[in-house]
């Protein structure tokens, strides 16, 4: 689960991470009031969406009067922000965070994550922070310093100080950054985070250390033990179809193309996406059926696949295994087809447990479908179906 910047900052400040003064606003009036309450002569207006790259997309504005803060808020709220992480449709801005602007004399990067190669919690840090850190890191991996935390229970002070000392801060700021890193580590473990990233962590011209932007992701698998964090969930940030699907033991991903896809399993979904796109076919969505899904759940999911705008064909590529049976999926599809009708070509490739029943179920219920013997033939059928449609 992603947190908004303002949520992450509120949470981390409870742990002692220094943050600029800020107030969340739902309207231009609230934004103006926020600026007055914060005080000072300069403010940053920041669009609150779950995506990076906001600055370059115009989602972060510096303003020098409360009236200009209100105008910027008015412009951002209700607009759709398109960043390199949002896809072409962008994300709707519902709230802006108003923050006291600060004069920056130095910017660094600091993050905590689970380092998969060592199976440990690790810190990443860089003496250069800022928006294009990813490109800089790609050009020069040595810019990124890493501290692997050997003992989950205990963060070694000496090792941490050594690591922070490598980030190019002066003495007093190094001490502050060590405390900040300790706070991050505690918050990371307490909240079952999978990533906390401060970028940039700045030193102001007044010599103060501040977390100017924060990204925090929680481990979805651990939310069962964090009722207290549920309040941070923002369902408006999630794709409505993807949200709906979760209630039915389905993973649903909306994409921009015109072929609906039903698969089982994460790897098969990725492989099917690759195969389709390599052949010039653009998927509209992917419905990944979890093994525990029932006939009714599959039916609901299939209706969602069909509901995608501009859909021209549907590909079902399933490999029954574990407790997932092909006939359960076929019955779900048949149920949805009877309820809603299928007006586009339906291509079915079913293998594995009870594969022979899949064709039997669909055929006996009069559902028109083309049956492929393997993944290659299935893709050929999809190409034929979508190009006929275009002609």
């Amino acid at each position: 689960m992603n947190l908004h910047e303002f949520q992450a900052k509120a949470l981390l400040s409870e742990y002692g991470v220094p943050i600029p003064k800020g107030i969340i606003a739902n309207s231009a009036e609230e934004a103006q009031k926020a600026a007055l309450n914060i005080g000072g002569g300069s403010w940053i207006v920041k669009a609150q969406i779950h995506a990076g790259g906001r600055g370059k997309a115009g989602g972060i504005k510096r303003e020098n009067s409360p009236a200009d803060v209100a105008a910027a808020a008015n412009h951002l709220i209700g607009s759709r922000l398109v960043t390199y992480q949002t896809g072409a449709a962008g994300k709707r801005v519902n709230q802006v965070y108003i923050e006291a602007a600060c004069e920056i004399s130095q910017e660094i990067y600091l993050a905590v994550l689970v380092d998969r190669s060592t199976a440990r919690i690790a810190f990443l840090g860089s003496p250069t922070g800022g928006e294009d850190i990813e490109e800089k890191a790609a050009d020069d991996p040595d810019r990124i310093h890493k501290l692997v935390v050997e003992d989950f229970e205990h963060l070694d002070h000496q090792a941490l100080t050594g690591f922070i000392s490598g980030l190019g801060l002066d003495g007093a700021n190094t001490q502050q950054a060590v405390s900040t890193a300790q706070a991050l580590f505690k918050a990371f473990k307490d909240c079952d985070a999978s990533l906390i990233e401060i970028n940039p962590l700045v030193v102001t011209s007044a010599g103060e250390l501040l977390a100017v932007d924060v990204k925090m992701i929680l481990d979805d698998n651990a939310l069962f033990r964090h009722q207290e964090l549920e309040k941070y969930r923002d369902e408006e940030e999630e794709d409505p179809a993807e949200l709906e699907a979760k209630r039915y033991e389905l993973n649903f991903v909306s994409l921009d193309g015109n072929v609906g896809c039903v698969v089982n399993g994460a790897g098969l979904a990725l492989a099917t996406l690759d195969l389709l796109k390599d052949n010039g076919v653009e998927p509209a969505n992917f419905m990944d059926i979890r093994p525990v899904a029932t006939r009714e759940q599959v039916a609901t999911g299939f209706e969602m696949v069909l509901a995608a705008p501009g859909i021209k064909a549907v590909l079902v590529n399933i490999y029954g295994g574990g407790i997932l049976r092909c006939d359960t999926i076929a019955e779900g599809i048949a149920l949805a087809a009877r309820r809603k009708g299928v007006t586009v070509p339906l291509i079915v490739r079913a293998a594995g447990t009870n594969m022979e029943l899949c064709q039997k179920v669909l055929t006996s219920q009069g559902i028109p479908a083309q049956f492929a013997r393997d993944i290659t033939q299935a893709v050929e059928m999809v190409i034929a179906a979508t190009s006929q449609e275009a002609a």
Binding site: N221, G322, G352
Partner: protein, 291 residues
């Protein structure tokens, strides 16, 4: 020969009495797997599927001589179940549970260090040595004994790969799902070491995904390895949406590392035959063997 498990493996199941565990253990027994008991705290002394149920792994191991534990415990308790098996010195622990919190796995990995136990999973389809024993959830109708070792990060893609190996008439020595989570037990390199040393295994098929650097580390290992065998690989996720989760948790990345292109290049530089799409996994493996 095969690796890790065979018809002599003595298997217990932690969580045996649950519905899903019952379903899969019945199938495994029918396949010939030597399941000798189960563990379910509070149900010790009862009988399930005709097998003795114990309160603890320690007790189960002492009584049955088990050397493999299949963990079918819900995600909330999976890490503790694995750690119990580690403490009981079970040599091979196979965890199929999905959605285990990643920090729990950090704890498990620490507990594994310096012990004789190996962990497969979590979020794994399990392990199968065809015609001898299956420990996990995989369908078995396309598996037969043969020369290929399979190691995979994805269950559904393994089924696809096994189907294609069947079509090109290549059976398996052993097939292992290492699981799709970011932090997991044994990996590609551990499995490759065993497959390269196994006389039955003539070639190895790797099924990878975007995310992490396991494939890159595998390439480095293969370059150093003195034993050479034909190896084929398919890596999924060329077009996976950026910064969105499509698929396993392990496919998410910080700093955009671990693309399919980088992984394929690294593996190809180590002499691995790369399947250009999921449709040609079987034929690529056959070509790698020179058949």
């Amino acid at each position: 020969m095969a690796i890790l498990v065979d018809s002599n493996s003595r298997i217990i199941c932690q969580g045996l009495t649950g519905d899903t565990a019952t379903f899969h253990c019945e199938k495994a027994i029918a396949y010939g797997s030597n399941i000798v008991g189960g563990v379910r705290p509070g149900k010790g002394g009862s009988i399930h599927l005709g097998l003795p149920v114990f309160d603890t792994v320690e007790e189960a191991k002492t009584t049955t001589g088990a050397d493999v534990s299949l963990v079918f415990v819900p995600p909330q308790n999976a890490a503790d179940a694995i750690i119990e098996a580690i403490e009981a010195k079970i040599p091979l622990i196979v965890c199929v549970t999905e959605r285990v919190p990643v920090l729990d796995m950090v704890r498990v990995k620490k507990a594994l260090e310096g012990t004789p136990s190996r962990l497969i999973g979590p979020n794994s389809l399990g392990i199968i040595t065809p015609e001898q024993c299956k420990i996990g959830v995989m369908p078995t109708h396309r598996h037969f004994a043969g020369p290929i070792g399979v190691v995979s990060r994805s269950a559904s893609l393994t089924y696809e790969a096994i189907d294609q190996l069947y079509t090109v008439r290549l059976g398996q020595s052993t097939s292992i799902g290492i699981g799709g989570d970011a932090v997991h037990g044994i990996g590609f390199v551990d499995c490759l070491e065993l497959f390269l040393a196994d006389p039955q295994t003539e070639g190895v098929l790797l099924i990878g995904e975007i995310g992490g650097t396991a494939e890159e580390e595998t390439a480095e290992f293969l370059k150093r390895s003195i034993i050479k065998k034909p190896i084929a690989a398919y890596i999924a996720g060329k077009y996976a949406p950026t910064d969105r989760r499509m698929g396993h948790a392990g496919t998410i990345n910080v700093f955009g590392k671990g693309s399919v292109k980088e992984k394929n290049e690294a593996l190809a530089s180590a002499g691995v035959h790369i399947a250009s799409s999921a449709a040609v996994i079987g034929t690529t493996m056959r070509q790698a063997l020179g058949r």
